[in-house]
Amino acid sequence: MPKTLPWLGGGILLGAIFFLSVFLIKPIGVSTEFVIADGIIWNAVNPDIVVADEASKSGYSSPNAYLNSSDGKMAKAIEEPVSYGMLFVVSLMVGAFLSSLLKGDKPEGLQKSMPEVWAARFGENKIKRYTATFIAGFIVLFGARMAGGCTSGHMMSGIMQMSVSGFMFAAGAFAVGIPLAIILFNKKQNTE
């Protein structure tokens, strides 16, 4: 099997999985589980952050407005962590790991710290790259939570279902992502 699938094979594989998910149960999503993971830790430090509440539709509520939104759906997932979403995301991680073991994409040497395109533009300082990805991660998940989903939930699952919000999300992401990547990585660089 080739290291990375060509676009045709890759696209067919992704399309089949996204269709299969909604055919069997519901569309794919990832970013909610970042909040659930936070909530599990938060609730361990402060058990009052999720409380059983019969008045709530999910059976749980939270003094935090976000965890309490949608009838305490996230509060419930924090209190009962073996949920559909959490199993899905943990399995996603295992799946990527297994693929990398089975001749999939696996970083070597400097790639374990940064892609070549970064090193060529910003140098090989690892702390600089880690600081940048840490900040990027912060912005990405803050944005994904504001939008109510990320690349998988909004862009792929959303557009697949012809959802207006999916198109809006993709428009916002690419309207900024494309020019920013060009500005950041196309300058002062040997391209050939």
Binding site: F23, V94, S152
Partner: protein, 183 residues
């Protein structure tokens, strides 16, 4: 039994993300700077195929419309998307691919995930003070879709499920026509 489905779908999705090269930030950054668009072609083809199968399946009555789940439209979706695009361009990771990449031994992805956990936590902390702003006012009735999904919670803007098949086919055509290198 209820546990088998998310485990199988998660394994498949994680495996696929790695296989298509999406856990490699080099590929994401080269896609965004229009240097090598193979990943964009794969994503658009994937969306197109899934849409054709989904709306074709809805028309044929083999897809259960209650499985459809439409997210609400509001200006925060656009702004949140723009924020995601910012970090996407800097890091070359999105939430799903960042988690997958960290598992393949990419340390920068691990820092991305930690930053993401803190970003999501900070969002949960500030949500209470921004939730009543215009950012979250529903647009087009909320869970709006371009084509009829048959889902009772969704707001259909245009009648007909065939439209979903047509738009899906258009995505497949664009995926095929998109040049590998634009800039």
């Amino acid at each position: 039994m209820t546990y088998a489905l998310p485990i199988i779908l998660g394994l498949l999705f994680g495996f696929a993300l790695n296989r298509v090269g999406a856990t490699n930030p080099q590929n994401i950054i080269n896609m965004l700077r229009l240097r090598d668009t193979f990943l964009m072609k794969a994503i658009m083809l994937g969306i197109g195929i899934a849409a054709v199968l989904l709306f074709g399946g809805l028309m044929a009555g083999i897809v259960d419309p209650s499985h459809i789940s439409i997210k609400k439209a509001y200006w925060g979706v656009l702004l949140g998307g723009a924020l995601l695009g910012t970090g996407f361009a800097i890091a070359g990771y999105c939430p799903g691919t960042g988690l997958g990449a960290a598992m393949t031994g990419r340390k920068d992805a691990a820092f991305f995930v930690i930053g993401g956990l803190i970003g999501a936590l900070v969002y949960a902390l500030v949500y209470g003070s921004i939730k009543d702003t215009a950012l979250f006012d529903k647009l087009l009735g909320g869970a709006a879709t371009l084509a009829d999904t048959g889902n009772e919670k969704a707001v259909t803007l245009m009648e007909g499920q065939w439209l979903g098949v047509v738009v899906g086919a258009a995505f497949i055509a664009i995926a095929a026509a998109l040049p590998k290198r634009i800039l």
